[in-house]
């Protein structure tokens, strides 16, 4: 390990955490630790300072009102999935969160870690983007908001600057006839990294046709990506075959994956199309039911 002994601090206020993170180059945020500690073991070495943010009350809070959800960055995936209101208002986002790792990992993993680790294959990210979520960031210059869609700039890279960390997520309340869905394809049944992940949110108009859609692909580009052409293909439709085929083709075209042991470029592009159709249908049916 590069730092044989790490220090550990557990501040109870955001400002104190910012000061610790800004004050030391080797300081790292500890939320669930399910990426940080693994990377430590696999060669990155122990950080000089762990800043455990889980004792800051704001980071554990869950507030739901007519505007939507305001949720602390350190709330665990397990707690998110157990929340009946979150599951009913954002079922796709809840499903995506529940897919991360195992039951044990879920007891620790967080949206903020999933986002800040910035793996192209992160499961909660396409769903957060489909739901138009915003990350609230605290730092030395104060707080700022960044749409999750703009947060990741490349594999392992985010817009966070020195001393900054995510304190909350805001997810706007869905419109009356709107819902979302997320599915991924993995080689195994469970406990794997997405070969392709697709998150779709659909809002219906008063006549029951698609008023708007957000289609987001994960694991097929350096970051999660929206597919505007798929969204346009679905808009105004009732998810007839022509609209779905066009959306699938748009996702296949937009996907820009790599070849690796989990899948080839051609396979991932094809599956991006297949899942787009499947996930769009699920979101549509859920939107109709609301």
């Amino acid at each position: 390990m590069s730092a044989p002994v790490s220090r550990f601090e557990a501040p109870t206020e955001v400002e104190a955490a910012v000061a610790l993170l800004a004050g030391e180059y080797g300081a790292r945020v500890l939320a669930g630790g399910t990426d940080l500690l693994v990377q430590m073991r696999l060669g990155a070495g122990a950080p000089a300072l762990f800043v455990d943010v889980k004792r800051i009350p704001r980071l554990s809070s869950v507030q739901l009102d007519s505007n939507g959800l305001k949720i602390g960055a350190a709330v665990s995936a397990a707690e998110i999935y157990e929340n009946d209101s979150i599951r009913s208002l954002w079922p796709g986002l809840a499903d995506a969160t529940d897919l991360i790792g195992s039951t044990q990992i879920q007891g620790r993993a967080t949206w903020s870690g999933n986002l800040c680790n910035a793996s192209p294959a992160a499961d909660s990210v396409p769903a957060l983007i489909a739901c138009n979520a915003t990350a609230v960031i605290a730092g030395p210059k104060g707080e700022r908001r960044v749409a999750v869609e703009e947060f990741t700039t490349g594999p392992g890279q985010t817009v966070l600057e020195r001393g900054e960390f995510v304190v909350e997520f805001e997810v706007p309340a869905p419109a009356p006839h709107a819902s979302d869905a997320y599915e991924r394809l993995i080689p195994r049944t469970e406990m794997d990294i997405a070969v392709v992940g697709v998150g779709v949110a659909i809002e219906l108009d008063d006549a029951g046709a698609v008023a708007s859609a957000r289609v987001v692909l994960g694991a097929v580009a350096p970051t999660a990506i929206r597919v505007p052409d798929a969204e346009a293909a679905l808009a105004g439709s009732r998810l007839d075959d022509a609209a779905l085929d066009a959306a699938a083709a748009a996702s296949t075209a937009a996907a820009n994956p790599i070849d690796d042991k989990r899948g080839t470029v051609a396979y991932r592009k094809k599956i991006a199309g297949v899942l787009t159709k499947r996930v769009a249908k699920t979101a549509y049916v859920r939107a109709q039911a609301r």
Binding site: V5, S6, F8, A10, G32, G33, D52, S102, Q104, I105
Partner: protein
């Protein structure tokens, strides 16, 4: 560098220890507290052998820092039985022969206890998915799952 002093509760008893910032709860349980029931299988949170419960939540102790245990309640395999009285999960593991080398067993038992606390009547599929983070290299899982489902039936006071 000064060590961190942690005061915590383990299996209901007050406990305290000194640790370095980077040490995992798993390391401290096994190496410093001599509680070797919890096992190290992978150190990357994939195998479930290190499963413990912290503040009522099932977690991989290899991915919890020991310092995080301050003021929290930790429950390990050593606290599952009540003295010599085994739980239905433990009893069914014995009756079904649901182990060979036994290294995965503590993790499975801790996880299964938590499963049945949350869901007293799981389907086989629900049990398998809940326990997907517990890996076994010996048994092929069949007897483990049967033991868990039979323990659930016993706990519901139905015939196994």
């Amino acid at each position: 560098m000064a060590k961190i002093r942690v005061e915590t509760t383990i299996n209901g008893d007050a406990a305290e220890f000194l640790c370095a910032g980077h040490q995992s709860l798993l390391e401290v349980l096994r190496d410093d507290l001599g509680m070797t029931g919890t096992k190290e299988g992978c150190t990357t949170g994939d195998c479930g052998a290190c499963s413990v419960v912290v503040d009522g939540r099932l977690v991989p102790s290899c991915l919890v820092l020991a310092a995080e245990a301050e003021g929290r309640a930790v429950d390990t395999i050593e606290g599952v039985a009540d003295g010599q009285k085994l739980t239905p999960v433990q009893q069914q593991f014995l009756e079904h022969g649901a182990l060979q080398c036994g290294i995965c067993t503590p993790g499975f038992i801790v996880a299964a206890e938590k499963l049945l606390e949350k869901n007293p009547d799981p389907t086989e599929e629900e049990a398998r998915y809940y326990l997907a983070g517990n890996l076994c290299r010996c048994t092929g899982y069949d007897k483990i799952i049967k033991a868990v489902l039979d323990a659930a039936a016993v706990m519901r006071e139905e015939p196994a």
